[in-house]
């Protein structure tokens, strides 16, 4: 990897964001009652965002190490769990979804299967009891088949 490429790429992405931000802000306008308008402050923020992105492009720091194997597998699995969890929360009910998610996370972080399962059941059941039953914040309990 070229030295400093990461910072240059990040700088380019943020610079593009700053430009897009400036352009998008320009569309916001009101007819009356607001002398500054909703566009001014985002533009004011886009300027330093762009300038410091340029700094990153021209004066990058050395690259970090991306993709440390076998960590990447675990990272991908973690993200998959975290994305699936909100989708499964309502269909599966809170205790089951939470137990599954925490068991898989524990396993990914190196727990033995049995320990991961025990933890999952404890976290799923425990949080449900505390939030739903004790604090009275409603959480979906049972699997719902209406979906």
């Amino acid at each position: 990897m070229t030295n400093g490429l990461s910072d240059r790429v990040a700088g380019a992405v943020l610079l593009a964001l700053a430009v897009a931000f400036w352009v998008a802000a320009g569309q916001y306008a009101v007819t009356f009652g607001d002398p500054v308008g909703p566009a001014a402050f985002p533009k004011l923020v886009a300027v330093p965002l762009g300038l410091f992105s340029l700094y990153l492009i021209f004066r990058p720091d050395p690259d970090p190490r991306w993709f440390v194997w076998p960590g990447v597998v675990g990272q991908a699995a973690t993200l998959a769990v975290l994305v699936l969890y909100p989708l499964l929360l309502e269909p599966l009910g809170f205790p089951l979804a939470t137990a599954l998610a925490s068991a898989v996370l524990a396993r990914v972080l190196g727990a033995a299967w049995l320990a991961a399962l025990v933890l999952g059941v404890a976290v799923g059941g425990g949080l449900f009891l505390v939030f739903d039953s004790v604090l009275g914040l409603p959480l979906p309990l049972a699997p719902s088949f209406s979906f």
């Binding site: 975290l82 190196g110 999952g120």
Partner: protein, 507 residues
């Protein structure tokens, strides 16, 4: 003298067996709620309001319970900041900067003890300030118009460059990114939705708690996996001592006092609140006493100042809440709602009309702080042992608590997705050595900064001169320039001796 009489009356109200029990429960629950990421004082207090109702508590008792939770949260937030590098709530974020490095160096007991004592000092001084100066402070606070608030935020953000040990340009970039993210949502003045792409869930902008959990907790899991210590955390430094050594505590006494004063002033100003309090307390303390560049690497003063600051701000925020009926922070807004639901009209007459409630509350705050310090110092040993819990058990628990904390309030899977996105962003930023703390500060305080800018110019009809018209505003700008000049001067002096002390790598 008259005040002392009122206070004595307050203690008489507060010291019933029931209220003492409630205060103990509140302090304990608050510490836990504060320590859990994703659950902060705002939802903690909001969650417990219905509980207080269903227990049929008298107004003073309900208020005592919930204020103890509020103060407990301020104590608790620091624990996960120090032990896990994940702030338990927004104001505890600044405590990560030096608290976690201290824990890594094996000084977790010191960090926990110093932060507990700093919390105590900040909270007690603020409560004394509340008793003695509330009417005076109110007269000071109303001089802060939009232009003055804007100047205060300029001071805060202009000095942000130095808050982390890394490249100042990256710190400023992170702050700009945070400010940009903070503009997402409905613009309060004009009602125009900005950068929302028509998604209704984005109309209220990014929730600071969602961003904090993502940027700190989820990115921490991702970083942890990369380090490949599958089983037990290798980060856990063996701690043989359960108690702190006195030397470092004594050395941070000055920082506690300075942090308390700054935090208290920030708290008194309605709308500024505890986050700004701890933020300013940290940056000012670093400017004042960081002669050897030890801040950000585990300097005890970097723990003492923001913790004193956020607790003093929490106390300070009660000044406008009790004497004006205007909340100084999100939590006091909830406490205010509680007052209203208890048939107590907040406002300037509260002290005269409801002395039992007000003085009972103040007395219970003194009491709560003694309970909290007595509870927290012995617990230092227990919290330190958290490091012995394997990461595979701790992190899924922390992530799931964050999820349920947010979901149980918003009932929106969307917030959970946003949290994961912030997690990925946090991971990438950390790999690039771009600090995440300024991103959250920008997100948290940017909206208020913009609102006050817009308000000032709406008042003047677009004339920018209004920003520089009052003595307070000019004073704040002069202070800003002084700090910037000092930073440039120190930066130039540091650069003279080439390679005197190489900057250690940060992850």
């Amino acid at each position: 003298m008259e005040t002392l009489g009122f206070l004595a009356h307050g203690f008489a109200v507060a010291f019933t067996p029931l209220n003492i029990v409630l205060a103990l429960i509140g302090c304990f629950l608050g510490t836990i709620i504060g320590a859990l990421p994703g659950l902060g004082p705002v939802n903690g207090v909001a969650i417990l309001i219905p509980v207080a109702f269903s227990l049929q508590l008298a107004p003073a008792s309900a208020l005592i319970l919930l204020s103890c939770v509020y103060y407990g949260c301020m104590y608790g937030g620091r624990i996960s900041s120090i032990m896990l590098n994940i702030p338990g709530d927004e104001p505890a974020m600044m405590t990560c900067l030096d608290g976690y490095p201290m824990a890594q160096k094996g000084k977790a007991p010191e960090a926990l003890a110093i932060s507990a004592i700093a919390s105590f000092v900040g909270a007690i001084l603020a409560t004394i300030g509340l008793v003695l100066f509330a009417p005076l402070l109110v007269r000071f606070a109303i001089h802060f118009g939009p232009a003055e608030y804007f100047a205060l935020y300029v001071l805060a953000f202009a000095t942000i460059g130095g808050i982390t040990g890394t490249n100042p340009a990256k710190t400023l970039l992170a702050a700009a990114l945070g400010l940009a993210l903070g503009t997402v949502g409905i613009d309060p003045q004009s009602g125009v939705p900005r950068f929302t792409f028509g998604v209704f869930e984005l109309f209220d902008g990014f929730d600071a708690i969602v961003a904090i959990v993502g940027l700190f907790a989820i990115s921490e899991v991702l970083v942890l996996l990369e380090e490949g210590h599958g089983g037990i955390s290798a980060r856990a430094v063996r701690v043989s001592r359960a108690f702190a050594q006195g030397r470092e505590i004594a050395a941070s006494a000055g920082a506690m006092l300075r942090g308390s004063v700054i935090g208290f002033v920030a708290g008194v100003l309605p709308g500024a609140g505890a986050s700004l309090g701890s933020f300013l307390a940290y940056t000012m303390e670093k400017r004042y006493s960081d002669r050897r560049g030890t801040f950000g690497k585990g300097d005890p003063r970097g723990v003492a100042a923001p913790e004193a600051g956020n607790n003093a701000a929490a106390g300070g925020a009660l000044v406008p809440m009790l004497s004006l009926g205007v909340p100084g922070s999100g939590t006091t807004a909830v406490l205010l709602a509680l007052l209203i639901s208890l048939n107590i009209t907040p406002g300037p007459l509260l002290f005269q009309k409801e002395p039992d409630v007000v003085w009972g509350l103040i007395a219970s705050l003194f009491f709560a702080n003694f309970v909290l310090i007595a509870m927290n110092l012995p617990l230092v040993g227990l919290f330190t042992r958290m490091l012995a819990i394997p990461m595979w058990a701790l992190m899924p628990f922390v992530v799931m608590v964050s999820f349920v904390g947010i979901y149980s309030i918003s009932h929106s899977p969307f917030d959970l997705f946003m949290m994961v996105l912030f997690g990925v962003l946090g991971y990438v930023l950390r790999k690039l050595a771009i600090p995440v703390v300024p991103v959250v500060l920008g997100l948290l305080l940017g909206a208020d900064m913009e609102s006050n800018f817009r308000r000032a110019l709406s008042i003047s009809g677009g004339d920018y001169a209004i920003l520089f018209q009052s003595g307070i505003a000019i004073g704040l700008y002069v202070l800003t320039l002084l700090f910037l000049a000092l930073a440039v001067f120190l930066g130039m002096r540091e650069r003279r001796p080439p390679g005197a002390e190489p900057e250690p790598a940060h992850d």
